[in-house]
Symmetry: C2
DNA sequence: CGACGAATGTTACTGCGGTAACTGACACGT
DNA sequence: ACGTGTCAGTTACCGCAGTAACATTCGTCG
């Protein structure tokens, strides 16, 4: 099996661990279940543990000096959270389940052992860090523009790629996110996100599905994006 | 030699490659020299090459959709640039020498080979990605506050940790950075940075050294930081 | 059903930063 | 010495986002 075959299993460019990583690490391990809004790890925690997400969606973020919660990005099944502990002994980020989540905790040291025994996992392992870095660069790029509408539209685009699934010509974000959470991704006041969202709604770019999930018109989103660039 | 001994060689928490990594990779390799403002790699480049910096300072950043240049962070001797190519085949960031820089280019594939032969390098290798991620989180945290003064002060704090050296009770930033570059780190207009800087100057927190380098009063900086938090 | 809490929607006010358009200081080459 | 280019400093104006203080809708649980 060549390295690139991984992408077959992933909807995005990011390699996932459905398949090889999980196969090797998980069979003899129990997953932990986290309820919606349950904290997986918290700022200041000291255990060096990676969590391999089997099921669910997790938000990675922090609390700033000003006491404000912000979200760096989302992770879902196939992704890993907590990777920063490979270097830092005290967690500077936090991970919270956005919906009921199952994840397999693996101590960093054990992971290193597994990698020594199975060098084929190496590239996937590197992928954990690279995709985290890349997504954080995306976040910085978004924040470089002081326009809530622009940032929201770009967050939507990220959500489409990460969590979207086709639904009648549109794309539904299958995970429920409050506007508060959206605003933490946009890094702006919730009120502004609410207003911006309704503006997009009036333009037919976004709305809520009957189930209360986001429904996005990707074409229109893309048109809007390029018009404001 | 234990893992933690690395920190002895580094002024920061970030592990460096003075010592082991360089010892193994570099002896038989030539460094390339980059002049001030020379591009090391550019957005869109496709070679998968890491650069191990032997000497000098490099800025990592990008050009946004709006054509604006921003800086994610700085790297210096002992650091690595270009690590994102481990996952992505097209560069989404760019690296430019801030001052004359010597760096050893190593193809990612060769790096993987070296790691297989020398597993002891593994933790350092992981450290490359973790510190990059951590610094980018710092950047996001900074940008979460819409206050140029706050952001500038925090950039200064980062500079002190990364490039500072004591000079008569104060700390000098030994690398010359234009206000334009500072503003790309702060992610704000140059004019605002100029004004903010002069405000700090009036308070005695910052000034230029006779050589035109930044001179910062770390105590005063810290006091100011905690007062605005 | 009806009540309560959470989430969402709306608005006026105010302040800070982007914008633009300068001036001023300094370095370097000829 | 003069001209050119880069970097730094300053200011008036305007627009957008934070703030605060509400109103409204929705969901669910007694």
């Amino acid at each position: 099996m060549s390295i690139d075959d991984d992408t077959v299993f992933s909807s995005a460019l990011v390699p996932t661990f459905r398949g090889r990583f999980c196969d090797i690490l998980s069979p003899n391990r129990a997953a932990r279940t986290f309820d919606k809004d349950e904290v997986i790890y918290e700022l200041g925690d000291k255990e060096r543990i990676f969590f391999f997400i089997r099921q669910g969606v997790v938000k990675i973020g922090t609390i700033t000096d000003h006491g404000r919660e912000i979200i760096y990005g989302l992770r879902k099944d196939g992704d890993v959270v907590g990777e920063l502990c490979a270097l830092e002994s005290v967690r500077r980020d936090r991970a919270v389940a956005v919906e009921r989540t199952e994840a397999v905790p693996v101590a960093f040291d054990e992971l290193v052992d597994a990698l020594v025994k199975h060098p084929a996992l190496f590239r996937d392992f590197v992928g954990i860090f690279c995709s985290a870095l890349s997504e954080t660069y995306d976040q910085v790029n978004r924040l470089a523009v002081n326009d809530v509408m622009y940032r929201l539209v770009n967050v939507f685009k990220t959500l489409v790629n990460k969590l979207g699934r086709p639904l009648g010509g549109l794309v539904e974000i299958a995970t429920y996110l409050t506007q508060e959470e959206l605003s933490q991704m946009v890094v702006a006041r919730r009120e502004r996100v609410s207003t911006a969202f309704n503006s997009l709604r009036r333009r037919g770019i976004a709305r809520y599905s009957p189930r209360g999930h986001l429904l996005l018109d990707v074409q229109a989103l893309e048109v809007y994006r390029s018009s404001t660039r």
